[in-house]
């Protein structure tokens, strides 16, 4: 576990979100044990581990979907508490779930503003939920969000999500997470169900997120994607940290070994 901090430092900007000593138990099962994690702005931090290693649990703790039994959260060095999804989104932590949760029957613009539709001025005598939606404003916003992430293949924000490809949907889901003043974006297996071309498209979007100074947490099984897009890699095993690698200093084989066997004292690249 000490090896982790050796790798953080000169190359990496100060961390934006830091969690220390996270414990989470489900009944008798210890899903996370004294887990540490951090991610900086302008960085893609990959989170890897075998099935049941605790990746998803850790992510859900960060998103407030689970509350940790023990552990400390720091945002820009300030201690914060994340007890519910609302806490997380108020702190600018957004999550894009694997199942995306888009409304296929609505168009792209409506999905991007879902739950916070812009309404026209001058109807203040009505409660918010009965004021007329400002569709044009909604479309302008959507156009901006799509442009920011450079989703080139999307022709119109007025097309229904049901007609989009998997890669486009992923991009829309990411755009929705980013649209809300977020600083940390967590992506759960964003390329799991995608073909080669669409994976490339999503990875482009992830890079755009990094370039726009977001802190990106990227969960995946796919080593090729991870090595293409990430700056650092945190490896979990049995709910505990194994190590954090700087991507450019390691190899897929080393990471796989760390995932499956843990760190061997003699192993070469583990510092």
């Amino acid at each position: 576990m000490e090896s982790k901090n050796d790798l953080v430092g000169h190359k990496v900007p100060p961390a934006h979100l830091i969690v220390r000593g996270i414990d989470k138990k489900f009944g008798g099962l210890q899903a996370l044990k004294d887990a540490d994690f951090e991610v900086a702005r302008g960085e893609v931090m990959a989170l890897v581990g075998d099935n049941g290693a605790g990746k998803s649990t850790l992510m859900k703790v960060l998103a407030g979907a689970y509350s940790a039994d023990a552990g400390d959260f720091f945002l820009d060095g300030k201690r914060v508490s994340i007890k519910s999804p609302n806490d997380a989104s108020a702190l600018g932590i957004q999550i894009v779930y694997q199942d995306l949760a888009l409304c296929e029957n609505l168009d792209v613009a409506a999905n991007l503003s879902l739950g916070k539709e812009p309404v026209k001025n001058g109807w203040r005598f009505l409660p918010y939920f009965l004021r007329p939606i400002d569709n044009l404003e909604m479309e302008s916003k959507a156009n901006k969000a799509i442009k920011r992430l450079q989703v080139r293949t999307l022709h119109s924000v007025r097309s229904k999500v049901s007609g989009l490809s998997g890669g486009q949907r992923q991009a829309i889901a990411i755009a929705r997470a980013v649209g809300t003043e977020s600083s940390v974006v967590m992506l759960d297996e964003p390329t799991a169900a995608l073909g080669v071309a669409q994976t490339k498209q999503v990875l482009e979007v992830v890079k755009r997120l990094r370039d726009t100074n977001h802190a990106v947490v990227y969960i995946s099984h796919n080593m090729q994607d991870i090595f293409e897009v990430s700056d650092r890699i945190t490896v979990l095993r049995h709910g505990q940290n194994v190590s954090t690698f700087i991507t450019s200093n390691t190899t897929p084989d080393e990471v796989v070994v760390a995932m499956t066997r843990g760190l061997d004292k003699n192993s070469v690249g583990s510092v």
């Binding site: 199942d99 409304c103 029957n105 609505l106 539709e117 309404v119 939920f129 004021r131 229904k160």
Partner: protein, 405 residues
């Protein structure tokens, strides 16, 4: 080759149904086909085969169209309400029974001397409570809406029989009767139609203009003008036809006004958007912080509201309340059929209340046309079943070809 073509056709069909105006086309087509059959093909066939001495244009006569609209009004009111719960992906089997209880209560109240206007308000309130009560069971207890409203159907049928032990009651209250009796003078009906048309023209063109000035993508000019022309043609010819027999009845104006209001609520407000979102993907709606349970309850309350209005319309039109006309008859199935034939998906998230009105016209035209051509009740049932099946098949196919990628 063949299957490829078929897939393409289905894709095109579902793409068409995704657009706002395109969703009307299948039901408009069905309506045209039915009117064409009963209004033109059947009379011509009779004429050629010598069954009739001369061309009998009874079906498309202004008098029959007038009756058709009035006959369909109660179905339409219920169908509009049912559409709202269908959008959520739920169903309401108790709407007709609710309408029956409301109509019976209205009859009893005015008989007891309560002024007609007050009685109507009370009945509307009761309808909303009856709907919302079922909504509470669906949303908070978690019983499937099919079961809750099936229980509601039985319970409310019983309740209606309790209120009307004889199963029949005349309603003579002048206020209640006036809803169906008052006719808008010809000239005012026409002015109203022109006004509505001008409003549609203005808002459509203004939207197009605003899009241009904001640099958003524009609607196809042809489509815009086609919509405007089609809308104007339908509204003005409907009023002219009604004027040719009597005049535009107040009841239809009220029905259209309620429907327009619900259309605005469901399509243009955050509340309506949340109905579509829950129907499309409830998990997604929950994650963005929508109050799903409250939305469900309110949707069932809207069905209750429209059922009460349907009950008032029925009592006003028939001048009486009977068990068979509401709770015990075919009204429920006709109303659900109207909503589905209109193109509202049983799977939730797609449809519009205007389609329910057109669907009600299809159901009403079928019944009316088959009656006129002397078909038996058995024929009517079988043809209605076939049309309903066709509508649901179109819904299922167009859903598969888009969703099944």
């Amino acid at each position: 080759m063949q299957s490829e073509k078929k897939i393409k056709f289905l894709d095109r069909l579902s793409l068409l149904r995704e657009t706002q105006f395109g969703a009307f086309l299948p039901v408009l087509f069905a309506l045209t086909a039915i009117w064409g059959y009963f209004g033109l093909i059947l009379p011509i066939h009779d004429l050629i085969s010598g069954e009739a001495e001369n061309f009998r244009a009874i079906f498309l006569s202004p008098r029959n169209i007038y009756n058709l609209f009035m006959q369909s009004a109660v179905i339409a009111a219920l169908a509009v309400g049912i559409t709202v719960v269908l959008l959520l992906g739920e169903i309401d089997l108790s709407a007709a029974a609710t309408a029956g209880v409301c109509a019976a209560l209205l009859g009893v109240l005015v008989l007891a001397g309560v002024p007609g206007f007050i009685a109507c308000l009370i009945v509307i309130f009761v309808g909303i409570i009856m709907g919302a009560a079922q909504g509470l069971l669906v949303a908070y207890v978690g019983i499937p809406s099919f079961v809750v409203t099936l229980a509601g159907l039985l319970g409310y049928q019983g309740l209606m029989q309790k209120i009307l032990p004889t199963g029949n009651l005349n309603v003579g209250d002048p206020f209640v009767r006036s809803i169906a009796r008052i006719l808008i003078p010809d000239i005012w009906g026409l002015i109203l139609a022109l006004f509505v048309f001008a409003l549609f023209l203005f808002t459509t063109l203004r939207k197009q203009f605003q899009r241009k000035s904001k640099g958003l993508e524009l609607d196809n000019n042809w489509t815009v003008w086609f919509q405007i022309l089609a809308f104007g043609l339908i509204v003005i010819s409907a009023v002219l036809t009604l004027n040719a027999y009597r005049s535009l009845p107040l009841l239809l104006v009220l029905l259209i006004a309620f429907t327009a209001f619900l259309d605005w609520i469901t399509r243009s407000t955050p509340y309506g958007r949340s109905i579509f979102a829950v129907g499309g993907n409830a998990e997604s709606a929950r994650r963005v912080g929508m109050k799903i349970k409250r939305i469900r309850v309110s949707a069932f309350a809207i069905v209750g509201l429209m059922a009460a209005i349907g009950g008032i319309f029925g009592a006003s039109r028939y001048g009486s309340v009977s068990y068979t006309a509401f709770a015990g008859g075919s009204l429920l199935l006709e109303a659900i059929g109207a909503a589905v034939i209109g193109g509202t998906s049983l799977f939730g998230g797609r449809g519009s209340v205007w389609n329910a009105i057109l669907g009600a016209l299809v159901i009403g035209s079928l019944g009316n046309g088959l009656d006129l051509s002397g078909a038996s009740a058995a024929d009517k049932l079988m043809v209605s079943g076939a049309i309903l099946l066709l509508a649901v098949a179109i819904d299922a196919l167009s859903r598969n070809s888009v969703g099944g990628r």
